[in-house]
Symmetry: C2
Subunit: 403 residues, 2 copies
């Protein structure tokens, strides 16, 4: 699958182990790597030389050492490899170009083409990807592939978006093969929540948390012991139907009355704002119009509109009930919220969530925290690119032979 | 911690790997072990000889082989090591003696001593454990320790039962040190749901499922990729507060109205049966009386009482909503129900659950199944004993050095 002729033989297990250690914990010396990998000194020496020759890692200036020969920190070479990450939310399309050192080189957020045909979407992704790579001035042969984060349920093995509750027009969309054809790159498809949790894990280095994704829909992912739980069918995190308010108002939509989706997704918030006479009801088949209504509701709350603030505070209290269900079940000390809708809700949600979630918890939790993502709005796209890096660069446990 | 003088040095990592492989998949030959462990032929030969000498494994008769030297199947030696498993449910106390080959040698179910002082309970456990070991005629020096499965929340590291919602009399009970003092054995404490899922995993060899525990309380555990998820504070599975019926009746008890505990725990079912005029209301401070009421409700349903059958069918439909929440979130293809209350509910629940849970699912699932535990009523006690075996016999990943 690798196309660059000067890339090292990455199938080599020990080499993948060393590269992975350097990616996960940059700045290790050869002696550090010997300790953390358990490999022999000569092996580390050979592997790091090959990785440097292949421009996958590089040496940094050693820090001053009081005595003896200073040890040389090794870091991933940002120009060694790249991956494209694409997040397809029904309203917002995010595309990033990530380098192997974990830096986002280029990123763009666009409005997602509406309609039931994915042709316009795949063309836009292909054209934009080409433009980002050209603008970054990088070697296209060093782009490993493209990862797509999309709402579930998905068939990850077939690369198909099945039937997302928030995407009634989308049924069995073969997004992976369409994008492979449109870009000529290897493509993988994964869930928005799985990709988001992957990016958060890499950036925050926290090993146990619940990720709550807020986009056009709502979802969740679990990171336990430093591992993102994918679910047996890669469809972890469908939480929209969790009952959070038995006395919730009727919205006249397809979601479950009193459910978590009805509490907080942009469509439900737009309906609630319209029911309160605050905003005109947008066209509910138009995710862009719904997204704009959510933005306007958030703006009104931020400038002191009491009705808007009440709607969002109520939403936060309902979301807290749902988060309580998940924390009680899965037992995590930390909750992280993110996704394309989060930035518009965080100002209203954060002052409410911590106490409101704590009051739902059965087991005593100290420490316990509820926070916004450290990655930012592009968390799912960045995670999709990280998944591509892992696909090509990470050691496979199945290849490990004890000796 | 090991007291037997003739037990092998189990801290030896490779030896622990080999014993673990034989325990998990009995009947492997030395050549099989070489393949599955990656260890050298001579190492396997030395280790298996040591394990045979220590009576931890034994050779079985080889099956007839068409050609060449028949390979000799190796299995754990049931008389090599034992563990005691204790399950403390507020109403039922289960104690088993498990051997290293996975067979329950002795088992007993008693009524749990009521009251707020754990002294009567620890005495009963110590006396009964001593009796089971004597009756089994085994060498007490080969009993590795005693595992307790108890309702959460727990402090597993300190061995303390904190404040279970279904055990208002129990606050900060130091069950582990009390039992260590009473039995003289090494003791570990873990959650009832974690122990149950461990036993189910070992017995069924299924690698991805949700375990729903029904005892005096209700709980859940997750097995993902062959691993039991413990949760960051070892308190996974507090699911009693999940809303399952927004229009549920008021029970006048401490649990959440419309919640999963209110739908299915014996106390809630006893109240529902009393509200329907079916049974007198038991003393709600007496878990034995509550347990008896649940037994009578189940008996009435089984002999055709329509009111009793309606109560249990309604309970099953509510439980299905809760299971749907968990399956949608955690993405498993199989749900297993068990615990001390399950046998009394299964006849009414099983005909309802499969379809009712499926109607809650967002992602398409095929295959998908909802079944009773293959282990039986002693599942949590057996799991507690398995956890003791693992504590002493399983290889520790932290000791692994790649070479």
């Amino acid at each position: 699958m690798l196309r660059g002729s000067n890339l090292p033989r990455l199938a080599d297990y020990n080499q993948a182990v060393v590269l992975d250690l350097i990616r996960r914990d940059p700045g290790q010396s050869r002696a550090d790597l010997q300790r953390t990998s358990g490999l022999a000194s000569q092996t580390i020496s050979n592997i790091t030389r090959r990785l440097i020759d292949a421009e996958m890692i590089r040496e940094q200036q050693p820090s001053d050492s009081a005595r003896g020969r200073p040890s040389i920190p090794l870091v991933a070479n940002g120009n060694g490899a790249f991956a494209v990450g694409v997040h397809v939310d029904p309203a917002r399309l995010t595309i990033v170009l990530l380098d192997v050192a974990g830096e986002v080189r280029r990123g763009v957020q666009l409005r997602t083409p509406q309609g039931s045909e994915p042709g316009a979407l795949t063309s836009l992704i292909a054209v934009t990807t080409g433009r980002l790579i050209r603008e970054a001035g990088i070697d296209r042969d060093r782009v490993l592939g493209l990862g797509i984060a999309a709402p579930g349920p998905l068939d990850v093995h077939e690369g198909v978006v099945l039937a997302p509750p928030q995407l009634p027009h989308w049924r069995d969309v073969r997004l992976r093969s369409d994008l492979r054809d449109a870009t000529g790159m290897p493509v993988l498809l994964d869930k928005d929540v799985t990709a988001s949790a992957t990016a958060e894990l890499r950036t925050s280095a926290d090993s146990d948390f619940l990720f709550i994704y807020l986009g056009s829909g709502v979802g969740a992912a679990v990171v336990a012991g430093g591992q993102v739980l994918r679910g047996a069918s890669n469809n972890v995190g469908e939480i929209g139907d969790i009952l959070v308010d038995p006395s919730a108002e009727e919205l006249g939509w397809s979601g479950r009355r009193g459910g978590l989706a009805a509490a907080c997704v942009p469509e439900a918030l737009a309906i609630q704002a319209a029911q309160a006479g605050l905003l005109p009801l947008p066209d509910l088949d138009d995710y862009l119009a719904i997204d704009d209504a959510c933005t306007e509701l958030s703006r009104l709350a931020s400038v002191g509109d009491a009705t808007a603030a009440d709607i969002l505070e109520r939403a936060a209290r309902r979301v807290a009930v749902g988060i309580g269900v998940l924390v009680n079940f899965i037992d995590v000390p930390r909750v992280v919220l993110g996704g394309p809708t989060w930035n518009r809700l965080s100002a209203a949600f954060l002052p409410v969530l911590d106490d409101a979630v704590r009051s739902e918890l059965i087991a005593p939790r100290d420490p316990f925290s509820v926070e916004g993502s450290v990655v930012g709005e592009q968390v799912a796209a960045q995670g999709a690119a990280e998944l591509v890096m892992d696909q090509f660069l990470a050691p496979r446990a199945s290849a490990l032979v004890m000796a």
